[in-house]
C-alpha cells in the first residue's frame, strides 16, 4: 500500500469509533521508545547510518502479524501535506513530520498501531484506542513490543532499562497519555488548579498536538513524565486514577454550570452555533474553539438529533491539511477560511439551533 490517502479511513469513519467515557476522553494512547543496540541515536547518526537502521527496523515491523496489510512510507516520499494530515490524525508527531531521508512510518489497517522509525529514537511505537482504554492500549503495545524484540537487538541496560536518546524517556520508555475534552473545567475556570495539581503528581498536561502546543478546542493531553524506577503497570495505574478524578471533576463542573449559570452556558453554546452555522470566513483556531462548545452542547442534550461524531468529524476535516486535501488548488490561509466556513455551514444545515430545555442524549454513556 503506497497511497496514504487511500489507506487512511475517512474522517467520518474515524470519528465514529467509540470507547468508554468518550464524552470526555477522546482517545487513549501508549507509546514505547526503543533503540537498536549498536547504532547512534537518530539525532546524532549520519544519514547512511539512519538509512541502515531504517532498513533493519522497517521489514521487522512490517512482518509482525499486527501489521498485516499495513501502510509503509519513507518520510522522504511523503509530501508536506501528507505529513500534516498524519499529524492531524495523531499518527505521527510534529517532530516526525519534519523528518526526511532515513525516517519512516508504518501504520496498520485499523490505525490502532503506528510506528515511527527514526524519530527521536530508532523506534517509537504507539497503540491508539478510542475513549478511556489505557490498560488495553498498554497490553496491546506490550505484546507488539514482545514480538518485535525477537527480531531486533534492543539497547537495554540492567540498571537503566531501555536506553533512549533523551534521558527523560529512559527505563521503560513509556508514555501513557489520554486526550481529554474539558470545556466544563475551562468555562468554570477550574482548569488551572486542576492542571497544577496534575503537575504536582508528576504528570504533564499539554495541548492538542503534544509538546509545546496550545490547548485548542479545550482539548488537553495528560501523560506521565517519569519513566525510570517505576513499572509500566504502576504508571498506567496512576494515570487511570488521575483520569477518573479529572472525569469526575469535569462532570461536576458541567453540572454546576448548568445549575448555577445556565444562561452563561446557553449563551456560549448558542453563540458558537450561531457563528458556525452562519459564518462566511472562519479560521481553524476559532472553528476548533466553537466546535468544542458545540460538542459540549451535544453532551448536554441541547442539540437533539445531532450526533457527537458530526462535531468530531468537523473537528478533523476543518484542520488546515485535511481541508486543503479536499481541494485541488493550493490555497492561501484566507481562501481556506472562506472554504472552511462554507463546509461547516453546509454540514450544520440540518442541525437545528440549540433547545433551551436540555434532554439527555439518547447515546449517553
Amino acid at each position: 500500500m503506497s497511497d496514504i490517502h487511500k489507506f487512511l479511513c475517512s474522517p467520518a469513519e474515524s470519528t465514529r469509533r467509540h470507547g468508554p467515557h468518550d464524552r470526555i476522553v477522546m482517545s487513549s494512547r501508549v507509546r514505547l521508545a526503543r533503540n537498536i543496540r549498536d547504532a547512534a541515536f537518530p539525532g546524532w547518526a549520519k544519514k547512511p547510518e539512519r538509512v541502515k537502521v531504517l532498513e533493519i527496523i522497517q521489514p521487522a515491523v512490517s512482518a509482525l502479524p499486527d501489521m498485516e496489510d499495513a501502510f509503509y512510507g519513507a518520510m522522504d516520499n511523503l509530501t508536506a501535506l501528507d505529513k500534516q494530515i498524519l499529524v492531524e490524525r495523531h499518527l505521527i508527531s510534529r517532530e516526525h513530520a519534519a523528518k526526511n531521508v532515513g525516517s519512516g512510518l508504518v501504520v496498520n489497517r485499523t490505525e490502532t498501531f503506528s510506528v515511527m522509525i527514526n524519530e527521536e529514537d530508532h523506534l517509537r511505537m504507539q497503540a491508539l484506542r478510542p475513549g478511556l482504554q489505557l490498560r488495553q492500549a498498554w497490553t496491546a503495545i506490550d505484546a507488539f513490543d514482545s514480538e518485535l524484540e525477537k527480531k531486533i537487538n534492543y539497547a537495554f541496560d540492567n540498571e537503566l532499562g531501555y536506553l533512549t536518546a533523551c534521558p527523560t524517556n529512559l527505563g521503560t520508555g513509556i508514555r501513557v497519555s489520554a486526550m481529554l475534552h474539558l470545556p466544563g473545567l475551562v468555562l468554570g475556570e477550574q482548569i488551572n488548579p486542576i492542571i497544577q495539581s496534575v503537575n504536582k503528581l508528576g504528570l504533564a498536561v499539554r495541548g492538542l498536538y503534544g509538546e509545546g502546543t496550545e490547548a485548542l478546542g479545550n482539548v488537553f493531553q495528560v501523560s506521565n513524565q517519569m519513566t525510570l524506577g517505576e513499572s509500566e503497570n504502576m504508571i498506567v495505574e496512576r494515570l487511570e486514577k488521575v483520569l477518573s478524578q479529572i472525569i469526575e471533576h469535569e462532570e461536576n463542573a458541567r453540572q454546576t454550570l448548568l445549575e448555577k449559570k445556565p444562561k452563561v452556558v446557553f449563551n456560549h453554546i448558542g453563540r458558537a452555533y450561531g457563528i458556525l452555522a452562519n459564518a462566511h470566513s472562519i479560521s481553524s483556531k476559532e472553528t476548533m474553539n466553537l466546535l468544542s462548545l458545540m460538542r459540549l452542547g451535544v453532551d448536554l442534550g441541547l442539540f437533539p438529533g445531532a450526533d457527537r461524531a458530526l462535531v468530531d468529524e468537523l473537528f478533523l476535516t476543518t484542520q488546515p491539511a485535511h481541508l486543503q486535501k479536499q481541494l485541488s488548488d493550493k490555497l492561501s490561509a484566507e481562501e481556506r477560511d472562506l472554504l472552511r466556513a462554507d463546509m461547516v455551514r453546509e454540514r450544520l444545515k440540518d442541525v437545528s439551533r440549540p433547545v433551551i430545555k436540555p434532554k439527555p442524549p439518547a447515546s449517553a454513556n
Binding site: 547504532a39 546524532w44 533493519i56 537487538n153 540492567n158 498536561v205 496550545e214 490547548a215
Partner: protein, 171 residues
C-alpha cells in the same frame, strides 16, 4: 532571590513539585516564567524546564570541565548541552557519572523497574543475584565473619559468566 533561568531579574514565580518524597524547587522571573509557559495551562511541565536548565551544567560539573568524548560515537558534553539528547546507547556509560544526578531529579528512581527483553531476563536475574551476594560479602567482611565470607565467595564463583546475547538483527 534571582531567577534560576536568566540569573538577572528577581524571581517572582516560585514552583515546587513534589514527587514521592522528593521536592524540586524552581524560581523564575516574570519574563522567563512567561517564556516557559508557566502560566499557560497547555504547555508547562516542570521536568521540561529542569532538563533544559540543569542537565548540561550537571554533566559538565561531573566531568570537571574536561571534554569527555563517547568512544563509540564521538558525542561530547557540549553536544548534550546543545540538544539535551545523547549520541548513542554507549553514551550512558560514558557520561554515567554526570547523568546519575540528573536522573535522580528527573525520575522516580534510578533503577529500572519495568519490562525487560525476554532474552536478557536470565542475565538480568544473574546480575541481580551477583549484586546481592557481593553486598552480603562486603558486610560479612566488615563484621569479620570470615566463615560466612568464604561461603559467599564460593557461591559467587559458582555463578556462570554473564551470557552474551548472540543474536543479531536483522534475521
Amino acid at each position: 532571590m534571582q531567577c534560576s533561568i536568566c540569573k538577572e531579574k528577581p524571581a517572582s514565580v516560585h514552583l515546587t513539585q513534589i514527587v514521592g518524597d522528593k521536592m524540586q524547587k524552581l524560581d523564575l522571573c516574570d519574563d522567563c516564567a512567561k517564556l516557559k509557559g508557566v502560566n499557560d495551562p497547555s504547555g508547562f511541565a516542570m521536568a521540561d524546564i529542569m532538563l533544559g536548565l540543569g542537565a548540561a551544567q550537571e554533566l559538565e560539573h561531573a566531568v570537571g570541565g574536561t571534554e569527555v568524548k563517547c568512544p563509540r560515537c564521538g558525542f561530547t558534553q557540549a553536544d548534550f548541552k546543545k540538544s539535551g539528547r545523547l549520541g548513542c546507547p554507549e553514551c550512558y556509560k560514558t557520561f554515567a557519572e554526570g547523568l546519575s544526578g540528573l536522573l535522580k531529579t528527573m525520575h522516580k528512581g534510578t533503577r529500572h523497574a519495568g519490562k525487560s527483553p525476554e532474552s536478557l531476563r536470565a542475565s538480568r536475574e544473574i546480575s541481580d543475584r551477583l549484586k546481592l551476594l557481593q553486598k552480603k560479602l562486603a558486610k560479612a567482611i566488615e563484621s569479620e565473619d570470615f566463615e560466612l565470607a568464604a561461603r559467599l565467595r564460593d557461591e559467587i564463583k559458582q555463578i556462570p559468566e554473564r551470557p552474551v546475547a548472540a543474536k543479531n538483527a536483522p534475521r
